[in-house]
Amino acid sequence: MARTIHEAPGDEVVLSARGVRKKIGRKWIIDDVTFDVKKGEIFGFLGPNGAGKTTTIRMLVDLIRPSEGTITVCGYNVNRNPEKALQYVGSIVENPEVYTYLTGWENLQHFARMQPGVDEQRIAEVVEIVRLDQRIQDKVSTYSLGMRQRLGIAQALLGRPRLLILDEPTNGLDPKGIKELREFIRKLADEGLAVFVSSHLLSEIQLLCDRVAIISKGRVLAVGAVDELVARNSPYVLWELEPLQRARDIMAGRPDIALLHLDEVTLDDSVIAGMGVNSLVTAMDEELIPEIVAVLVAQEVEVRAVHKINPTLEQLFLKLTEGEAID
């Protein structure tokens, strides 16, 4: 039974979680998770380790039953109607765990038998998509982690899903592998697949995703387009000035510039390491930079370097969680 993928508008909701809560023992592990994932978008699920990402993902694929709330995939309730709902879902929960005593091909055959409409031809197709053709007849125990990851993705794609769920997909991959995976996921999304990606790596989500939900301590703190969420923060500007004191006075005199202490900003380690003694960090509209430079020069302040640092989800995240440690 071949399923035709409808050319529906981009706001077609593929996955929907409504007021999902989960109590384990006496503790509410997940406390109110609500979001929608739409067709053709890459949806990021961001949170520190232990925030409830994996538990939520397990609920999305019926490994764990939510205590309250509903999860629907393409209109079918995942927990009440898993046979219908899960045929639209391909997933890798945590690591891509496949049978190591079988060959890659046998693994795919195994999972193909568990869903309707997947024949040998489709298996060959997904093998080609993930470029495992050379080694597919070898035992999985001889595969590298990256190859297992690709086999896992092949398995997830077998049933021509509308929703792909990947839990920390870049774990254990080298930079090249990460880049390839990112391009691959983008390609799938462009073909109309909804992709749900969890990560504790903020930069990862920022580079990959269209929209993001931020989760901490079992609660979704914010959901929105990545650009939109980032735009709530104005960028940092890093200055290197001589003499510093005069420059500081000039900046302090302007209401549209906020001078920041180093300990209240979050910067990449590489940036901090490169900062000299005459450095100054401000939060301001980037449109103001040329004007400020002109003012400084007129006041005989040497401008040695100006560096704009784009706002990151990390900043936003820290703001939302009030400084709770990430990883």
Binding site: P82, K84, Q87, V89, S91, V98, H110, Q115
Partner: protein, 329 residues
Amino acid sequence: MTNLLPLIRNECLKIIKKKRFYVILLILLVLVPMFTYAQMRIAERSRDKFNSDWRLEIQQQITDNQNSLGSDRIPEEWKSYRRIFLQQLQYYLDHDVNPNEPSGVTFTREFVNNSVSLFIPLLIMAVASDLVSGERTTGTIKMLLTRPVRRWKVLFSKMVALLMFVSLIVLSVFVISYLISGLAFGYKGFNVPVFTGFQLNGDTVDMTKVHAVEQWKYLLMQGGLIWYVSIVVALLAFMVSVLVRSTAASIVVMMAALIAGTILTNMASAWTAAKYLFMVNMELTTYLAGTPAPIEGMTLGFSMAVLGIWGLAAVIISFAVFTKRDILN
């Protein structure tokens, strides 16, 4: 939606590819020759002693047992066991039938009799104990349960595959022990008569219902009973495998239960409520041979009922837990 047959095929394939069944065959191929050799030495010795006259040998056994009945140091339970044994030997002697006629078939009969309470269950556990827990240990259970297949179907397919392999194991035990022991004792002996139907009545044996069956028939009856016990053991091991996350723990739990069974069987009789435990009811073939049951009041029907109830409960618990449980890791 998804058909059960491909799922069962998957499970059989995994059992085969894990090479568990080959290990079982290998164990049999190593151990059976050992037992055959031991049996051969026994046969040789008695041949030397009694000049190949089995009647002399049986007569000697009867005399030995009678003598021991007079001793005060032997517990009463053992005495009643011996009295029964005596009467049966006498019956064989009276009807001019050698109960220990050496042949591949007789060896097989004796061997499976002795393996039903520990050896065969152990072989079964090699397959059953990691059927579910193995998938949890490796994490593949997550792949298995996120496919569009209801959980009961996944479990059911595993159970069907298990029962198929248990049947195959029981068959292999019979076939391998016959083939190997036949090398030493010859492959004849299918038509030798064996007496069955001894009715135990306290110390005395009621011979009215005793009748001779040809040994191949006896072997078939034995096979049926052993298969039944094996299925129950497999279902119990399967349940433990569902309940426990690690395969090692699952094997230990089952082994402990089985060994407790053999110990309890030997202590026996005083604690009569023990007869409701599955592990003291496993030696169904003793009812065929007419050996006394470990606890008063146990009969073939009773033991089969107890085993059946345990097996059924195991199935119910397995399905109830597996279909409801959250897969947390």
